[in-house]
């Protein structure tokens, strides 16, 4: 089975791309033919500083297999935290930035590990903390949504992974099987709220998203802009990672 990845990410309206605190990373960029895909999405909390850096460090570590979000990997997380602390302390900071460093950076996190078989069912495992969501679609309808099931499960102040040494890191886990033709979508909270809000009302947001599957970043930008203008998509950084599964020798493409 093959996994085809498409990634879309936009900063909030009024912010520059350099201010986008969503980050994602994928193992396929480095090892496309391993028969496994490690994909991660993190959303830096905007009320904390150096959160973009922290989000990038988390997703890279997950994609490289250096940290998988499970309790046995706690040591790997502490190493990341030390690296973050060193990186942000390299230069003198004004009083407020120094205090924000002391408070730490926070990011929600969603990681997906997908084993691609020669034939049959692909096994996926996911870990998450916070309000980014994984949606497993079959024939355009959701088989599983993780970690939230409905709009009400998405809090306005989500739990997040902090960069502070020793802080708790209680990630939730889920697993499942996927077939050729299925799609796995990873999305940050603004888009997840939009989708789940519509689903709760009996609408089919997944059809709107599926129409984006074979388009490019311009179409995604138009989709986001139209919904922001209508006022039903919160003005926030927004990222969608789209994995399509197709028959073929195991590999990952993007």
């Amino acid at each position: 089975m093959q996994a085809i990845l498409r990634a879309f990410s936009l900063p909030k309206e009024g912010s520059s791309p350099a201010e986008n605190e969503d980050a994602w990373a994928c193992s396929a960029a480095e090892a496309p033919s391993l028969g496994a895909l490690r994909l991660a999405l993190a959303d830096g909390a905007s009320e904390t500083s150096f959160a973009r850096l922290w989000a990038k460090m988390l997703v890279r570590a997950y994609a490289q297999g250096a940290w998988d979000g499970t309790p046995p990997a706690a040591k790997a997380l502490e190493i990341l935290r030390r690296r973050w602390s060193l990186a942000v302390s390299r230069r003198p900071l004004p009083w407020h930035a120094e205090e924000k460093v002391r408070q730490g950076a926070y990011a929600t996190f969603l990681g997906l590990l997908l084993d691609l078989p020669q034939e049959g069912t692909a096994a996926w495992q996911a870990v998450a903390i916070g309000d980014s969501c994984l949606v497993h679609l079959r024939l355009g309808e959701p088989l599983r949504i993780f970690p939230a099931g409905s709009r009400e499960d998405l809090p306005s102040r989500p739990e997040a992974l902090s960069s502070l040494p020793g802080d708790r890191a209680d990630l939730l886990g889920a697993s499942g099987g996927a077939e050729a033709g299925d799609r796995l979508l990873l999305m940050t909270d603004a888009l997840a709220r939009w989708c789940l809000g519509r689903q709760d009302r009996g609408w089919r947001p997944w059809r709107s998203l599926c129409r984006l599957e074979d388009t490019g970043p311009e179409a995604f930008a138009r989709f986001v802009a139209a919904r922001r203008t209508a006022g039903d998509l919160r003005n926030d950084d927004v990222t969608l990672l789209w994995v399509s599964l197709v028959e073929g020798p195991p590999c990952c493409r993007s």
Binding site: A45, E47, T48, E99, K100, Q103, S162, G166, R168, D236
Partner: protein, 281 residues
């Protein structure tokens, strides 16, 4: 829905502080930790510097301070007018980045903070000081409320889409120029398309009474000054009560923006400028 406007650099909101600097503020403060050497004026300076610090921290990002708010301070005592000192002297409203850059001084203070493992650890924290305690003259509260209206009327005109201003009035309540009810009503009448101006009264009293935060009625309040300040405080709309609940202040409908002898430094967190994690300490 009111009080839901996005707060951003292109659509900032505004905090205005009205600070009682009258002679009666030299009297001892009655709240927790109050003592002979702890005057109400000292407590006012502590509250004001703490709130200003939290506003700056809320706006501080990797590259600097983002101007999500305009901030002003009006003092009243000997005179009524802008109360910033030092390089900010004479300015009525300043962008928050200027506030961050130009405190009077920055002190190192020791503070115990959670260590993440259930204990406390002592840290040295940078504590900027914009205001020192002042206590001189009468208490021209009515004049101060009118002055706040004069400063904020053009602001709401030019920021029609913004979250409306929030006025924090820090006082012992002992007005010497009459009943402040009418000027307070006029001030609360200012509005943007997102809602009416909010007036919060922070009562710093000599009365040794327990802390009271956001009451819904006045019979339990300790004196006439508290009841007067409760009476001129804004009702908390549902949206704001929901945000306050996230800060640990569960309040019923009818609650007002009134605080008695309490530490309100967390108050600025009920305005959202982005994602604030639940586990942020």
């Amino acid at each position: 829905m009111p009080y839901s406007a996005e707060i951003s650099r292109t659509q900032p909101s505004c905090f205005l502080f009205l600070v009682d600097q009258s002679g009666s503020m030299a009297d001892p403060w009655g709240g927790p930790g109050g003592s002979a050497e702890g005057s109400k004026a000292t407590q006012v300076a502590t509250i004001l510097n703490g709130l200003l610090r939290n506003i700056v921290l809320k706006c501080s990002k990797d590259e600097g301070v983002r101007n999500y708010f305009d901030v002003g301070v009006i003092g009243y005592g000997d005179r009524v007018g802008p109360a910033f000192g030092g390089a900010l002297g004479g300015r009525e409203l300043v962008p928050v980045a200027d506030l961050a850059d130009l405190p009077l001084r920055i002190e190192d203070r020791r503070r115990k903070v959670p260590d993440g493992a259930g204990g406390l650890v002592e840290h040295t924290v940078k504590f900027p000081v914009w205001f020192d305690p002042v206590a001189h003259g009468g208490t021209p509260m009515c004049q101060a409320l009118l002055e706040a209206g004069r400063v904020l009327a053009p602001w709401v005109e030019s920021h029609a889409g913004s979250h409306p201003p929030i006025v924090f009035h820090i006082t012992d309540g002992e007005s010497t120029d009459g009943d402040p009810t009418r000027p307070a009503q006029e001030l609360r009448g200012l509005e943007t398309l997102d809602g009416q101006l909010m007036l919060f009264n922070i009562h710093v009293s000599s009365h040794p009474e327990r802390e009271i935060a956001f009451p819904a009625s006045d019979p339990g309040l300790p004196d006439a000054y508290a009841r007067l300040l409760f009476g001129i405080s804004s009702d908390l709309p549902g949206e704001m009560r929901e945000r306050l609940a996230l800060e640990g202040y569960e309040r019923p409908p009818g609650s007002r923006g009134f605080i008695f002898n309490a530490e309100p430094a967390a108050l600025v967190n009920f305005l959202d400028i982005g994602t604030r994690p639940a586990n942020l300490r």
